[in-house]
Amino acid sequence: MFAVRGVSKRFGAVRALDAVDLDLSAGEVVALVGDNGAGKSTLIKVISGAVTADEGQLERDGVPVQINNPHQARSLGISTVYQDLALCENLNVIGNLFLGSERRRWSLLRKIEMERTARTLLSSLDVRIQDIQVPVAMLSGGQRQSVAIARALVGEPWLVILDEPTAALGVEQTAQVLDLIRRLRDRGLAVLVISHNLADVRAVSDRTVVLRLGRNAGEFRTAETSPEAIVAAITGAVA
């Protein structure tokens, strides 16, 4: 159970977040939606430690926690997949999966252990990549997104945040990534997905949280809600 309670954040005169609440629990996919400038990015930056909130608090299992930098977020079991994926195109899949947390003995890379872990991880997520020794530059967009998501799991996190995971993908690759997100949920992870694409949101999320102009503007059980109601909440029209 992870909770955001009354978090506010100002950038100069702009109120990016205004007393926002958000609950995330294990085994649930929550979609965070809203128009441009609604505060989605700021909210995930607060949770992933890239930005510190002015007011409000973050709670893990009811206990207040401090997240002042990305490192603290990671040690709390929060893993973020950025929209730009942050992959090193020249490194192979294994190198990217373990980027910055390479398995080592003294300073020597434990290549065989890393390759075995990588293969196990990828096959448990049903990610198909013919040769994991080729540079990531050779992979398709969907495969890269899968590698970035798989990397988020290397540190055994509890919560995975995905920023626009399907934004740059074609139809088939989008379907692959959505499948992958469902598998994360089946593993018992809490998943927070930011998306502009309401079709994807409906396909994959259990709950939809709407932000509008930095405030909570509605929360829906996705399966029981019509797309029109969500759109109305996003645009602020009376539903």
């Binding site: 990305p70 942050a86 090193c88 192979n92 980027l99 910055g100 300073s107 890379l109 065989i112 050779m138």
Partner: protein
């Protein structure tokens, strides 16, 4: 069109593979050079000339090795030539004018190189100056300092029978050359067997056996041929062994340590590396320190060969040849791709052209133009392979 694209794609995929076989075009180029010059002048492939060639490689090759360290980060070091000259001058001053031991003089020269690299690294990372500008200032400034410390005399001769000069006049007796070959092949074969066993134990896919056998066999033939040829003249030069050892150790470090992995990661995507918690600033400084230290060592080797340091030490085309060697050998200027072997292959190409043209009595104007064409072709291959890999 599609076949052309495919033909271009194939070397591209190879070149983009870190630790792959991206050097085949260069090897092909070397074979062409050997055939052309060998048929134009029977001297070119003689044991004596090939031994001279081996001697000529070491100094600029070592400087090139340092440049590869910064190229891998996607940066550039224009100061390497000047630094090599300056450090050689300091070596000569400490050794000859102050009468200190050769070893101490070498250590001081290398330490000076390290300090210069540290200054470059700090200017690059802390003052956020582009590496091009930092090292351009270095190129001019350290050359100025070289002229200043040499003073009016301008030339310092190293004693011909001194330890430094003898460095480049030491030849391995055949038995020790062969011993080294046996050791290298033994270590490579053993590690291949051990690696295969470990992979089988971990249930990982194995490469076909014949590929390993081919690789080890090829290595044996290559090393054996080199020793055979060089022993027919004066023997394997110590200088070549030193340079080879540097290339091999740097390659092992880059491929098998966390440090090396991080260098490649920064060269590939510095922002991603930073977000993954890699100490990008520290590694950049280390790379600049390594680059200048290797440049200093290259300067020491050049001084040893010339048995003197003068105002043109590390000047003229030293820097350009060192950069060209790295690029011809397959190191990408965009960072993150290439291996230290590029220094060896690239400098082989450049020195063979230089050496062959000198044998043919061709004017240096022609030599420069031919080198330029080779360099341009190498960069074109690099760009095409990049485009190919980006799909």
């Amino acid at each position: 069109m599609t076949t052309l694209a495919k033909a271009l794609r194939r070397p591209a995929e190879r070149a983009a593979r870190p630790g792959g076989v991206g050097s085949w075009p260069v090897v092909g180029g070397l074979i062409v050079i050997a055939i052309v010059f060998g048929s134009l002048n029977e001297q070119f492939l003689s044991a004596e000339n090939l031994t001279n060639l081996a001697l000529q490689l070491a100094a600029t090759g070592t400087i090139s090795l340092g440049i590869i360290m910064v190229l891998l980060l996607g940066e550039i070091d224009l100061s390497a030539g000047s630094v090599s000259g300056l450090c050689a001058a300091v070596l000569a001053i400490v050794h000859v004018r102050h009468g200190q031991s050769a070893l101490l003089a070498v250590v001081i020269a290398l330490a000076l190189g390290a300090v210069i690299g540290l200054v470059h690294g700090l200017m690059f990372t802390q003052l956020r100056m582009p590496s091009f500008v930092v090292t351009l200032a270095g190129l001019i400034g350290w050359q100025g300092l070289l002229l200043y410390v040499l003073g009016r005399g301008g030339t310092i001769n190293l004693p011909f029978d001194g330890a430094i000069a003898r460095l480049s006049d030491t030849w391995l007796p055949p038995w020790s050359s062969w011993l080294i070959v046996v050791l290298i092949v033994g270590v490579v074969a053993t590690s291949a067997v051990l690696n295969r066993r470990a992979r089988r134990g971990a249930d990982l896919p194995l490469q076909p056996v014949h590929r390993s056998i081919l690789r080890i066999g090829g290595l044996t033939v290559l090393l054996g041929a080199a020793v055979l040829v060089l022993s027919a003249d004066r023997g394997v030069p110590l200088l070549l062994v030193i340079f080879g050892a540097l290339v091999v150790s740097l390659d092992l470090v880059l491929r098998n340590t966390v440090f090396g992995q991080w260098i490649y990661a920064i060269g590939g995507n510095a922002e991603a590396a930073r977000r993954a918690g890699i100490p990008v600033t520290r590694l950049r400084i280390v790379a600049f320190v390594l680059a200048s230290t290797l440049a200093a060592f290259g300067g020491v080797l050049a001084a040893s060969r010339l048995a003197a340091v003068n105002q043109s030490s590390g000047g003229s085309d030293t820097l350009l040849m060192a950069i060209a060697a790295a690029v011809i050998g397959g190191v990408s200027l965009f960072g993150g791709r290439g291996r230290p072997y590029a220094a060896l292959l690239g400098i082989l190409v450049i020195q063979s052209i230089t050496n062959g043209m000198l044998l043919l009595n061709v004017d240096s104007s022609i030599r420069f133009m031919v080198t330029a064409v080779v360099l341009a072709a190498a960069v074109a291959i690099d760009s095409l392979s990049r485009r190919g890999s980006e799909q």
